[in-house]
Amino acid sequence: MPEILQYGFMQRAFLAGVVVALICPAIGIFLTLRRLSMIGDTLSHVALAGVAGGILLNFYPIYMALILTLLASFGIELLRKEFHQYAEISLAVVLSFGIGLATILISLGGAGAQVFSYLFGSVTLVTSRDMLSILILGAIIMATVLFYYRQLFYMAFDETAARLAGVPVKRINMIFTILVAVTISISMRIVGILMVSSLMVIPVATSLQLKKSFLVTFIASLCFGLISVLAGLTISFYASLAPGGTIVMTSVGILIIVAAIQRLMSN
């Protein structure tokens, strides 16, 4: 066995990493195509408040983040109805609330170092409990996305037509909102709060470069996510760097390479 896999914490990090690498682009592709990728950013700022609050109250931070992001995502839906022509406003309001609350909570207690590991991701600190939460919730997310794959695809292209074709648009929007919140809460342990939304968007941006069918784009974005996380975790281990940074930089690297190859081939 290579050295990197001999450590229990690395095994946990890789296992959890694979799950995160698959669910982030699987959710991200629908967010991106519906031009809602800002939601990822917004909810991750709220997740930060959840983490800080959890540490302060001695409550499992991932679940605290989960509760807050779920509340926030329904808050966004409500505000969206208030400002229905300006969807971004509702995002900006919730993002400000999240970062404001997080700042207050962090400055209240001495949780700085621990918050740090959630901000930038961590490999050494992934506990068995973290891994189990990520595995179970991740499997539920993936199964739900695959179950509603066709409906989500149709809604991303044309929500009105989907509704007329018999897709229960309201219910699926609700379910999808929950999926986004859960994805962010469980992914932040590995990639870090600041980089969750990048892992949701960059592998998707890379696979969009291929200009293929939706199915190919979907599968390719999962593959690019997987490569980024596996390579990123390995680099993070050998270079002692925070995994969030190495994962996102790898995914950006892949994006640039794919875009360049695509440019060369079309010339």
Partner: protein
């Protein structure tokens, strides 16, 4: 005529988005097999009328029915095709092939897991064949011309074997040659396949030649005409005043 052949019924429908009433006490009926052209100036509520018929908007008073069922309780959406006005304003980079687009509309006919079976695949092929786009099945939708996209959207409604198709200005930005093909296709759908057609258009001259009935929207009302006795010049005068003359394009 029997009640059964009534495809669309509006009964005393009144509607406005805000205080301004756009339609007041409108009564309207479409029978099976008819081809209706809906005309009217910009902002006269043509698109609104279509959305009311489809239940996408709710009337302030009155009722809209499809096949005799109030639209709120109507469930057989596979019998209805709708091509909205902004249908071709989609993101041209959207990663979807023609086949994926057209298959999506079969969703209500698939099982819980939405797998495509041989029967579904055949339906998609047939729909693409009717509109003459089978050679483009694997192309990305954004790579097609406007007229080709138009035909794909028609195929998307055809996979479900609809009984009625609503089209909101389907010919905007489509060149004259493709328009000719479009009307040939409409004739095929209407005459051979017996599909009832409702089409919003600004090209009053062509509409009066091709459709069987015409509804003019304006001044909170709907004025219906038989296409044979409809006089486009008179209609334009009533809307724009005396000076305007219909410019006849030689197609």
């Amino acid at each position: 005529m029997t009640v059964l052949s009534e495809v669309i019924t509006l009964h005393n429908v009144t509607f406005g988005y805000d205080e301004i009433t756009l339609l007041r006490d409108v009564n309207f009926q479409v029978q099976h097999g008819e081809f209706w052209g809906i005309v009217g100036p910009n902002g006269s509520a043509k698109s609104t009328l279509l959305k009311l018929m489809l239940g996408l908007l709710k009337p302030q008073s009155g009722t809209c029915s499809l096949f005799g069922t109030p639209v709120g309780e109507f469930r057989k959406w596979d019998q209805i095709g709708y091509i909205p006005q902004n249908v071709r304003e989609f993101n041209m980079g959207f990663p979807a092939t023609v086949k994926e687009m057209v298959s999506a509309n079969l969703i209500s006919q698939m099982g819980a897991f939405k797998w495509m079976n041989a029967h579904h695949r055949k339906k998609v092929e047939e729909a693409l064949h009717i509109v003459g786009m089978e050679a483009y099945a694997a192309r990305r939708i954004g790579q097609l011309s406007g007229g080709q996209q138009q035909r794909v959207f028609i195929a998307r409604t055809l996979v479900n074997s609809p009984k009625v198709i609503f089209m909101d200005e389907p010919l905007v930005g489509v060149d004259v040659e493709s328009q000719e093909k479009f009307y040939e296709l409409m004739e095929k759908l209407n005459r051979q396949m017996g599909i009832t057609l409702i089409m919003v258009s600004h090209d009053i001259g062509v509409v009066s030649e091709r459709t069987s009935h015409i509804a003019c929207v304006g001044k909170e009302k709907l004025f219906v005409h038989d296409a044979n006795t409809f006089n486009p010049e008179e209609y334009l005068e009533s809307i724009y005043g005396e000076k305007t003359r219909l410019v006849h394009h030689a197609h």
